[in-house]
């Protein structure tokens, strides 16, 4: 099994090599995110370094004040004390101001990284093919974009500080301690050994635990999103109780996963305190004996003790950093997996421009299967000359939409070539492809937002006049005017604010506005009433005059406006001819047509 892309995302039994492979890929991602920000990161690090130095100076100045200032003052010499106090105030103010500055700086960096990551994931998921989306589900992508990014933000928000400050602090303090008292320094160094063991233990355990939190939270989100999307069906079919149990199970899994990570940190944190306090005791012992023996000044011992204690405060911060690092790394792993997915319908590397498409579409030896074991469209050749209006009919599941999806390059054929004006779609520049070929899909999806915005999706730069004209052309203007705010009415999520037929009209207006040379209508009038359908058809007569059109419809009324009819059966084109010839003949179409005529009243 491989761990390429999102494969194996749900697994938690990675081998060492796989684990490393995943980590590497997320580190590469992190690296590429940080690279454009190096100047800012450097500045931030400098700020942290200076402010840390200012803070470290604190105990030393106090020690100086006590050991030098006090005796001097007794001799009526104010200078050393004044120096200590002023220096202390100065470093304090500088340190505090720098930390405040740092807080803003680091927020800028963290937000820059997040926005970069957000956009990358967004764009990439847009590029990924439908095949990917069908199995990956929107819930997971939302999980990547929300809860995963949350844990990365947590790291970024405090990470640089904790890491740099913690590291520096510890280094500074170690140096300072060595310089004021060698033996105390040795004790401190000794304490690093158990520290190392503790960290290693934590790393191994937490990596696994944090991965589990990512997968369990994604599952929870998937379930949540699906329930909310299908809330009507959930209610109508009384799924609430069963859902509660299912969701409750997922919530519990997530809770347990979370608890494991917290538990691990719950050992790490007091572990550090313990090591720190023991070190303190030892320093005291070692120093105290020498003070008692007269070998060490009290002030020095005090400073050594203060330093030892301050050494472990940042160590705790570092532990926190490490904790959020592990959490963020697990999230980054998942995100980098999505980003590693290669679209199965990739953009061409050396695209061919087609500024002025004429609109002829050809299939040469095309074969198509969604899954290798089930061929939907067996090998066929077909040609749609520019300007022709083609009606595509056939029983449900025959493969009509599939054929249409090949033309609009939702999928690439498993074999053979689909081309527009002789250019293989796989090599055509995406912008030209999308400008030339537009498909109104069987499901009329509207985005939340105004009616006007939804229509304008066909042509984002359209003026309101153009939008209204498009709506008029398909007969949608009237009902839109009747909405409370006309074209500015919010259609709610998925267009729930308007009826199914109205949704179709809006999608139709959208395609009309896009004005492509090849227009594909997949059951675009199925939910319309007959009078509206009639209006649409009249509109189509003029609309389709000078473009290639492929109309998929079960209601054969559309056939009337077609130049040519294709009948599909089990993925094969079984009849092909002008409507008149086919109706006059004895084939399937003539029977279909007769049956349909029969049904009319």
């Amino acid at each position: 099994m491989s761990v390429l892309g999102v494969e194996g995302e749900e697994r938690d039994d990675f081998t060492r090599r796989e684990s490393k492979q995943i980590r590497d890929r997320s580190l590469r991602l992190l690296n590429s995110l940080l690279r454009p920000l190096w100047a800012r990161v450097t500045l931030t690090i400098v700020v942290v370094v200076v402010s840390t130095a200012a803070q470290v100076a604190g105990p030393a100045l106090i020690a100086y004040g006590l050991d030098t200032g006090l005796p001097a003052l007794i001799k009526q010499d104010w200078m050393p004390l004044a120096f200590a106090v002023f220096a202390y105030l100065f470093t304090g103010i500088v340190g505090a101001a720098l930390i405040a500055w740092y807080t803003v700086l680091t927020a800028r960096i963290s937000q820059a990284i997040l926005i970069d990551l957000r956009k990358r994931v967004f764009l990439h998921t847009q590029k990924l093919s439908l095949e990917f989306h069908e199995s990956y589900t929107s819930g997971r992508i939302i999980a990547r974009q929300t809860s995963d990014l949350d844990s990365i933000r947590e790291l970024l928000d405090s990470g640089i500080n904790q890491l740099v400050q913690g590291g520096l602090y510890m280094a500074f303090i170690a140096v300072a301690l060595f310089s004021i008292d060698f033996w105390s320094g040795v004790v401190l160094f000794g304490s690093l050994v158990p520290l190392g063991f503790l960290l290693r233990w934590f790393q191994v355990r937490s990596q696994k635990a944090f991965r589990a939190t990512r997968t369990t939270s994604a599952r929870l989100i998937v379930h949540f999103v699906e329930t909310m999307t299908g809330i009507r069906a959930v209610k109508a079919f009384r799924k609430e109780k069963r859902n509660e149990t299912e969701f409750g199970g997922l919530v519990e899994d997530y809770r347990l996963a979370n608890m494991r990570t917290i538990k691990l940190f719950g050992v790490l944190d007091p572990g550090l305190v313990l090591i720190g306090n023991v070190a303190l005791g030892v320093v005291l012992l070692v120093g105290g004996l020498r003070v008692a023996g007269g070998g060490l000044a009290v002030g020095v011992l005090l400073a050594a003790l203060l330093y030892t204690r301050s050494f472990f405060a940042p160590a705790q911060e570092m532990a926190m950093f490490y904790n959020s690092y592990q959490s963020a790394a697990a999230a980054l792993e998942k995100i980098s997996g999505v980003l590693e997915e290669r679209p199965s319908v990739p953009d061409p590397t050396r695209p061919i421009d087609l500024w002025q498409a004429k609109g002829s579409v050809t299939f040469e030896g095309v074969e198509f299967a969604y899954t290798p074991d089930r061929v939907i469209l067996p090998s066929f050749d077909l040609e749609f000359p520019a300007g022709q209006t083609i009606a595509l009919v056939g029983s449900t599941g025959a493969g009509k939409s599939t054929l249409a999806k090949l033309i609009s390059r939702f999928y690439d054929p498993s074999d053979g070539v689909v081309s527009l004006d002789g250019v293989d779609l796989r090599r055509l520049h995406p912008k030209d492809l999308r400008r030339a070929i537009v498909m109104v899909t069987q499901e009329a999806y509207l985005f939340s937002g105004s009616v006007g915005d939804n229509i304008a999706l066909g042509k984002p730069e359209a003026t309101i006049e153009e939008i209204v004209a498009a709506a008029k052309a398909v007969g949608a203007h009237e009902f839109i005017e009747g909405l409370p705010d006309g074209y500015d009415t919010d259609v709610n999520k998925r267009g729930g604010r308007v009826s199914a037929g109205q949704r179709q009209l809006i999608s139709f207006a959208r395609a009309f506005l896009a004005d492509p040379v090849v227009l594909i209508l997949d059951e675009a009038t199925a939910s319309l009433d007959i009078p509206s359908e009639r209006l649409v058809q009249e509109g189509l007569l003029t609309l389709l005059a000078d473009r290639t059109a492929i109309i998929i419809a079960h209601r054969l009324s559309t056939v009337a406006i077609a130049d040519r009819v294709l009948v599909m059966e089990h993925g094969r084109i079984v009849e092909d001819g002008t409507p008149r010839d086919l109706i006059a003949g004895t084939g399937r179409f003539s029977k279909l047509h007769a049956a349909w005529r029969e049904s009319l009243v």
Partner: protein
């Protein structure tokens, strides 16, 4: 929410989560106690140091060092143990509270009516269910504990400081006053941005969701970049808010660092001066600074804990916006049941308008009177947007009527529990709304305990035998929202789902629109068997669907203007002919074509 949430204090807002936190409280208290002991222990260590410096070290008595050292070690170990205890105590309750709240929220969301879901973007709901509750958990198991403990520690520390030397202690106390003032100002500033940021995060989640659900449209029009632009501008807004938030935090950090530093400086001055005057021993001075150092972390942490608290308050507010949302569609207090369901569905002067409908508009459904006899099949015919789907949604109380009533077997549907009502009435929606589960689970959604034979029968009636050819047959997962099926296949599964529920009343919203003529005829033939014994209400756009029905009701202008047999209505109602008949223009067109043909032939000749 009745009161303006802005008016409510942070404390009062957060206190509302108490019912969920209640079972966890004992452990949280224990956690606080452990934390407090840890903090006190940490404060005691300097006291031991003082004794040591003033005692044995002063005297240069090496043999006396052991006890204090042992005490420091012992206290050190105790501190670590207490920290471990704190974490151990609050670990479980924190996550429990989170998951209980999450389950409650989910339950409430499933319970809230469709009209609520119409209005609320799903990303907003999701961000409440995930990020907000996460924040609350952290606050409970970390924030509140540390906040309480640190404040107490600071107070105790003050006492220690005062006891060491009251002048130095007073300097400390006085100097901390600006902090409290700034903390108050900080709340005002921060709460607003915190709220905005959480809302914007929810919007962003919505944008992501829509970009994936609507990916077919975006791809079909090549609008990936366009969508990205919108998304990016939303993300930029969020970034702006986050940076504003960071600035507010930077402000309080500045003070929290500055004030102790200034205090230290002043104390140094005062301490040395006092010591020089002999009013303070060296040991006291050492203890004073050691204690003050211990206090630094609690003081500095206040900023972070405060912002966390305000974040939590916002999260709680957002949580309660959903929990407090009024739900008008609930079960009656003492529900009736229908002892012998027959399936008589009666609409009596039913009025309905959507909540956002402007006052000057008439009701969308403006006095519907209609009776469906048991076993009868009634087709509902009307123009696009006339309210057919709305009417069907009223039967199972997805929306409630705003006037009049709907009665099932003589019982107002509002007097039944929703579960019972929806067991009697099953629906097929105009869009299939399948779930990414197996075919079996999708079809048996309304009757999970049905036998395989029932399942097979439902599939047969809906002519959905294609499922047996799918890779894993009945266990094939149909991609998200059934998108790995063809349109007609989805629709037939949705139909099978309604049939499999085996209800007394079937409500089918345009159930055959995606089927070809042949399949449609087959489904109709099979459906007739079911419909013979089941009451049905079928929304129809095509004459072929109308054929299924015994009678047809014409919906026009919010009323049923005609009811009768198809052929009768064709004869008697102009509007009905207008809505359903395409024959006229078929004939006209054929006539036109014939003419054209003649012309062509004339031209050829």
């Amino acid at each position: 929410m009745s009161a303006d949430p802005k008016r409510q204090g942070t404390f009062a807002s957060i206190l509302r989560i108490y019912p969920w936190a209640k079972p966890a409280m004992p452990r949280i208290y224990l956690g606080m106690v452990s934390a407090l002991i840890a903090a006190i222990v940490a404060l005691l260590i300097p006291q031991v140091l003082r004794a040591l410096v003033d005692g044995p070290l002063q005297r240069g008595d090496a043999s006396q060092i052991w006890w204090p050292v042992a005490a420091v070690l012992g206290l050190g170990v105790l501190e670590a143990v207490m920290i471990w205890f704190r974490r151990w105590f609050v670990l479980q309750p924190g996550t429990r509270v989170e998951s209980d709240m999450r389950n409650s929220l989910y339950k409430q969301l499933q319970d809230l009516p469709v009209s609520f879901h119409d209005r609320w973007a799903s990303g907003q709901l999701l961000s409440r269910a995930v990020s907000d509750l996460n924040l609350i958990r952290r606050w409970i198991s970390f924030g509140i504990v540390l906040l309480v403990v640190n404040v107490i520690t600071i107070l105790i520390g003050f006492v220690f400081l005062l006891s060491i030397n009251w002048i130095l202690g007073i300097i400390f106390v006085v100097c901390s006053i600006p902090l409290w003032i700034y903390g108050y100002l900080f709340e005002q500033k921060y709460s607003v941005v915190a709220r905005r940021s959480q809302d914007q995060a929810g919007d962003l989640a919505t944008a992501v969701e829509e970009s994936v659900h609507g990916i077919r449209v975006l791809k079909a029009f090549g609008r990936g970049q366009h969508a990205l632009k919108n998304f990016a501008s939303q993300a930029e807004d969020l970034r702006g808010t986050e940076i504003e938030k960071a600035k507010a935090i930077a402000g309080i950090w500045l003070w929290l660092l500055l004030v102790p530093d200034v205090t230290f400086g002043l104390s140094l001055l005062g301490g040395v001066w006092l010591a020089a005057g002999g009013q303070l021993t060296a040991g006291q001075l050492v203890a004073f600074f050691a204690t003050a150092t211990v206090l630094r972390f609690p003081v500095e942490s206040i900023g972070f804990l405060l912002s966390m608290t305000f974040d939590t308050r916002t999260a709680a507010d957002r949580f309660f916006e959903v929990m407090d949302a009024p739900n008008a569609i609930i079960d009656p207090e003492d529900p009736t049941t229908i002892a012998k369901p027959e399936g008589r569905l009666v609409f009596e002067d039913v009025h309905f308008r959507y909540q956002d409908s402007p006052a000057q508009y008439d009701d969308l459904l403006d006095g519907i009177d209609l009776e469906l006899e048991p076993g009868e099949t009634m087709a509902i015919v009307g123009l696009t947007g006339s309210g057919k789907s709305t009417l069907t949604a009223l039967t199972t109380r997805l929306y409630d009527v705003t006037g009049g009533s709907i009665k099932l077997d003589g019982v107002d549907v509002r007097d039944l529990t929703r579960v019972e009502l929806r067991r009697h009435i099953a629906m097929a929606f105009e869009d299939a709304t399948l779930f990414s589960a197996s075919v079996r689970d999708n079809v048996l959604l309304g009757r999970p305990d049905a036998s395989d034979a029932d399942l097979a029968e439902a599939l047969e009636i809906a002519q959905a035998d294609f499922v047996y050819q799918l890779p894993d047959g009945l266990d094939t997962r149909v991609g998200e929202e059934g998108m790995s099926l063809s349109g007609g296949q989805r629709q037939r599964l949705a139909l099978a789902r309604a049939v499999a529920a085996n209800p007394e009343v079937l409500v089918l919203d345009d159930p055959l629109s995606a089927l070809d003529v042949d399949t449609e005829a087959m489904v109709e033939a099979a459906l007739r068997r079911v419909l013979a014994s089941t009451t049905a209400m079928i929304v129809a756009h095509r004459p072929s669907t109308v054929m299924l029905a015994d009678r047809v009701a014409l919906l026009e202008g919010g009323r049923i203007t005609a009811v009768g047999r198809h052929s009768d209505l064709l004869a008697s109602s102009d509007h009905y002919r207008f809505v359903i008949s395409s024959l006229e223009d078929e004939e006209k067109r054929e006539h036109r074509e014939a003419l054209l043909e003649q012309e062509e032939q004339g031209a050829d000749a």
